[in-house]
């Protein structure tokens, strides 16, 4: 905070910090495990991760070229 902070701004900051301090938190180990679980559960649907059979990705389809 700059030294020119007003009383109003500081009061708001203190209120905000009290609000944030009250947030319920879980351990990183649990949070990380759940992030990992989500990845694993959805990996098979992730085309960029596992690739899809040739032909079913519209961007990888061979486009027809006209020979002039």
């Amino acid at each position: 905070m700059s030294s020119g902070a007003s009383v109003y701004a500081l009061q708001r900051l203190v209120e905000q910090l009290k609000l944030e301090a009250g947030v319920e938190r879980i351990k990183v180990s649990q949070a990380a495990a759940e992030l990992q679980q989500y990845c694993m559960q959805n990996a098979c649907k992730d085309a960029l991760l596992v690739g899809v059979p040739a032909g079913s990705n519209p961007f990888r389809e061979p486009r027809s070229c006209a020979l002039l």
Binding site: K27, M40, D46, A47, L48
Partner: protein
């Protein structure tokens, strides 16, 4: 670009002294009023308890910050990559440019996918906003904005409209019409008004509401039909550069990042900031929610991307390498959240393994800074836009 008219987004009559001043929101008994800075300061000073002074408030703020860090550190029992040690490493990735969209006359600044997974809207420094069919690379619509540097654009969920804005300080909605006799510009609707440039915009779950972020330091939620301001979000200490809405299953929150190095999570209904994170060492250019909604990633000018878990309330991973020294401008997750794609100012796109923290691929192709990057709605491809005037679709 960082004109400091932040913390104010309304100019009008003060609710207390009725003078025409720059106004800020104040909360009195949970009612939101608009006071000028003089009346706000008087109210604050009147509200001081005995023995409270500027100095005691400052030290209270410092000790609260310290306590917050302590609480967060208590739960930091392990690193994400340690938890992910037993996960199989990813193999080699073959991702190539499958389509190149050429047509912009200057730097591409922003892009968004349509829900139909095929159409893309992009905006550029030259004031043009173009809607493309990414399968065929044809341009379907084009509109010229009355300003340059169109830094934000978004596709409506219905696919029937687009929103864009930039140096005009506004967000405008254009309905998309295939009628050759109708000009898109004629149906333009000005929705949002900020006091500085528009840096990001996004429709919420419907075509009826738009969320905006601005160089004036605020975010705001607007009703498209009436142009009315529904909620404003104050808290950033400098320009807000990016925002992302939580995936619909997880409710009414969004995350924003700004030049104050902070990422802040907001409750859309109350306007309150519910969580804030300040671990980056420079501007936060891009924020994106993890697909489950429990975490979000951010990309910054400090050349790192970071992952923050919302339930652990802390940063849980940093994606960086000594060899990467240019800022990350834009980030997005693959469908499962395992991959993080990040576009950098050194013209490359790095692909990170979110769980293990390692880089799995670098993609070359753009000839200038990558400014914007989004994965398609079904995750089959992603699109990047660059200062080299082109967009590339990779798969």
């Amino acid at each position: 670009m960082c004109d400091q008219t932040f913390l104010v987004n309304v100019f009008g009559s003060c609710d207390k002294c009725f003078k025409q001043r720059a106004l800020r929101p104040v909360f009195k008994k949970s009612q939101q009023l608009s006071y000028c800075s003089v009346c706000a300061e008087i109210m604050a000073t009147d509200g001081l308890h005995e023995n409270e002074t500027l100095a005691t408030l400052k030290s209270e703020a410092e000790s609260l910050k310290g306590k917050l860090e302590e609480e967060r550190a208590k739960l930091h029992d392990v690193e994400l990559h340690q938890v992910a040690e037993r996960v199989e490493a990813l193999g080699q990735f073959v991702m190539k440019t499958r389509r190149t969209l050429k047509g912009h006359g200057n730097k591409v600044l922003c892009m968004d996918w349509c829900k139909d997974k095929r159409r893309i809207v992009s905006s550029s420094q030259d004031g043009k906003v173009i809607v493309w069919d990414s399968f065929t690379t044809n341009k379907e619509h084009a509109v010229t904005m009355p300003c340059t540097w169109v830094m934000a654009c978004a596709y409506a969920p219905s696919g029937c409209a687009i929103a864009c804005g930039g140096l005009d300080n506004k967000c405008s909605v254009y309905p998309l019409t295939f009628d050759k006799n109708e000009s898109m510009a004629a149906k333009k609707k000005s929705v949002a008004m900020h006091t500085n440039y528009l840096s990001a915009c996004s429709f919420t779950n419907s075509d009826m509401q738009i969320l905006t972020a601005s160089g004036d330091g605020t975010c705001a939620l607007w009703d498209v039909e009436s142009g009315q301001l529904l909620q404003s979000f104050h808290g950033h200490g400098a320009d807000v550069l990016c925002l992302d809405l939580a995936p619909s299953e997880t409710g009414n929150t969004f995350v924003s990042g700004g030049c104050d190095k902070k990422s802040m999570v907001w409750d859309m209904r109350s306007g309150q900031c519910v969580q804030a994170f300040e671990t980056h060492e420079s501007d936060v250019n891009s924020v994106r929610y993890y697909p489950s909604g429990d975490a979000f990633a951010s990309g910054s000018d400090d050349a790192t991307c970071r992952l923050y878990d919302l339930r652990a309330d802390r940063e849980v991973a940093i994606y960086s390498k000594e060899s990467i020294i240019f800022g990350a401008s834009s980030v997005d997750f693959s469908l499962s959240g395992r991959l993080l794609f990040a576009g950098y100012n050194d013209y490359t796109i790095n692909v990170w393994d979110v769980l293990k923290g390692a880089r799995v691929s670098i993609l070359f192709g753009h000839e200038n800074r990558v400014s914007t990057l989004r994965v398609s709605p079904d995750g089959t491809a992603f699109c990047s836009g660059s200062w080299d005037h082109t967009l590339r679709v990779w798969a």
